[in-house]
Structure formats: C-alpha cells, structure tokens
Symmetry: C2
Subunit: 174 residues, 2 copies
Amino acid sequence: MQGKDVVLGLLNQRDMSGYEIKDVFETQLKFFFDGTFGMIYPILRKLEKEGLIQKKHVVQDLKPNKNVYSITDLGKKEFKTYLNSKTVEETFKSDFLMRMYFGQELDRDKMISFIKQEIERKKTNLSELTDNYERWTNNGMNSFQEITFMYGIAYYKSEIKVLNEALEKLDGQD
Amino acid sequence: MQGKDVVLGLLNQRDMSGYEIKDVFETQLKFFFDGTFGMIYPILRKLEKEGLIQKKHVVQDLKPNKNVYSITDLGKKEFKTYLNSKTVEETFKSDFLMRMYFGQELDRDKMISFIKQEIERKKTNLSELTDNYERWTNNGMNSFQEITFMYGIAYYKSEIKVLNEALEKLDGQD
DNA sequence: GCTGCCATGTAAGATGTTACATGATTGT
DNA sequence: ACAATCATGTAACATCTTACATGGCAGC
C-alpha cells in the first residue's frame, strides 16, 4: 500500500486533478494516509507513463487551467490486483511517545507540558475529523467508509482519556 | 524523530550492540517505532563516523563476538538537542482502512473477512504488548515510560471494540 | 544433520520529504 | 496592495525497505 495505490483508487472512483486529489487526501484520508503535492504530482506522471491513467488538459474560465486524470482499463486491472493482495500491517510512528520513553532526561515540568500539548493536538485532530465526517455524510458514504471515521474518532477519544488519566496520576505523586 | 535519534537515545541509557538494540525495538518500542537490522547497522556506522558513538569489539566465549557501542559526549549533546526540539506530529498508515475506504469494489463477504482478520491481528498485538509490559514492569520502568504502554493498550482495546461494533451493525443489515 | 538463536553486515532500489519556483484569479 | 485559493511542477536529498550474504554456537 503506497501512494500509487491510493491515487489509483481515487481515480478509480472518478476523474480528478492533482489538486483535487490532494483535497481528498486532506479531508477524507488524512487519518490513515498522508500525501503531499511533492508526492502526488510525481506519482501522476509515473502512472501516466505506465499507461495506468490518462491526462486531459482542461481549460477553465474563472480558474487556472488544470490537468484532469482518468483511469485506464490497465489501471483498473492494476488496482484490482492491489485490492486482492494481502493486507500489510499498519505503521505508527510517534515522536510524542518517544519523548515519554526517554523522559528521564528531562525535568518533570517539561514532560507534563509535553502531555498537555499532545492532549491539545489530539483535541484539534478530533474536531477536524468530526467536521470532515459530518461534511462527508451529507455527500454519501457507505458503511465501510464510515468505519474509517469511527476508527479515527475512537482513537482520538481514547487517547485523550488515557493522557488525562496519566496527568491526574502524575499530580497525585506530588 | 528518526532512527538515528532512537538509537542515540538507547545508547544514552546504556551500552548496547546492534543486535540488542533490535531486541529493545521489538519488545519496548515496537508500538510507536520500528527498526530493522537493515536500518540499525547503517545508522550505527554513520553515528560512529560522526563521532557520536564509539565501538568496542567484545570477544565472547559461548556466543559469537559482538560490537558494543557507547555514546560519546558529543552524542549526548546531540541527543539533548533532539529532546529539546519541537515534537513532530505522529504518522499513521493503515492498509486495512484503505480497503475499508475503497470497499465498494469488493463483495460484502470479502469486506467482512477483512474486518475479522483485522480484529484477530489486533488481539494478537494487544496480547504481545501486554506481555512485554508485564515483563518490563519487573525490570523497572518510570511513570512516563508506562504511558507508552497505556497508550498502546488503550488503542488496541478501543479499536477491537469499534470493529466488533461495526460487524454487528453490518449483520443487522442483512 | 537440523533448527534456532546470536551476530553483523551490504547493495540496490523504492519511496517520500523539503524546499524551491511559478503563476492565475478572486475578494477585501 | 494583499491574502487566499486554485493550480502545477522539479530537484536534491534523506530515509527506509528488501533481499541477499555469512557464520558461530548450542541443543536435540
């Protein structure tokens, strides 16, 4: 599962420009995948070269022109192959937990401020995710896609709770 | 936060060989960072070249010889710099959620089997994490390090619950 | 003889990040 | 003027993954 597969999957749903793809990444896939322009455009070029997608130049009146990509039959086949491949294990990398792990090096107040910062960060993430969920619900979403949101919301809520409990426990040790 | 910082952090705690570092990655950091030999050994070589760590060849009797690394003053300084740098946002990548998102392509049974597989996967991960937590508790662990485990355990438990609920809901739709 | 654990490494390639670079249009 | 949004891209670099390659020692 790489950027390539995700882009192909999106174009398998409907035609899009690189800019639009970035937008879907931000509003719908952000919790479990992130893509940047520096990644999306090179992927589009590569997929086109391989004949998996096709470019159409679209002239616009009120906005700058754009390149809209559509998936080819070859691309559809390739995406199906991905969908039927073995699911790879998720990856998670946390700088915050790293600091918790190596915390003995720092003083207690610094550590507590790290935790408070992380709680705030997660609260922000949660409200963004909730907003995107609500916005998308109105545009049609199937029960499986809904799971991706439930999953993310449960994650943030449960970690906010854990971190608050940790703070309380640390307070009790004074 | 990269492999380099983690390796430096571990050697900041005590001297270790590449093989031992891998073991700590597996048993203590696995939830929020993963390292492979193909990553660890090149990092050790690089850090040594930069003068941040030092190699000692240790001849062993009952086991193959090994290279034990220790951190230098320069390395300690470098690690402190990392600890005081701004925490970067966590990253999460999930192939499972990807399939949930693009699920309309597949038939319902296949999707349900993906969910069941993922629940099993998470149950296994949870029990491994719990085992490592218990094993480590007996070897001394501070309250901040404990947070890294609480965080992971909460994650797995809450996602297992979400996925089970999703399954029930899907059953109700028959 | 085989398996499992201990132990170290390389080389090639894929992948992704960061920073830079450009420019139109719309609204304030 | 200026900021925001729309729109596309490159080049250099850092990083990591995968696969390969080797070999000692212990116990069955």
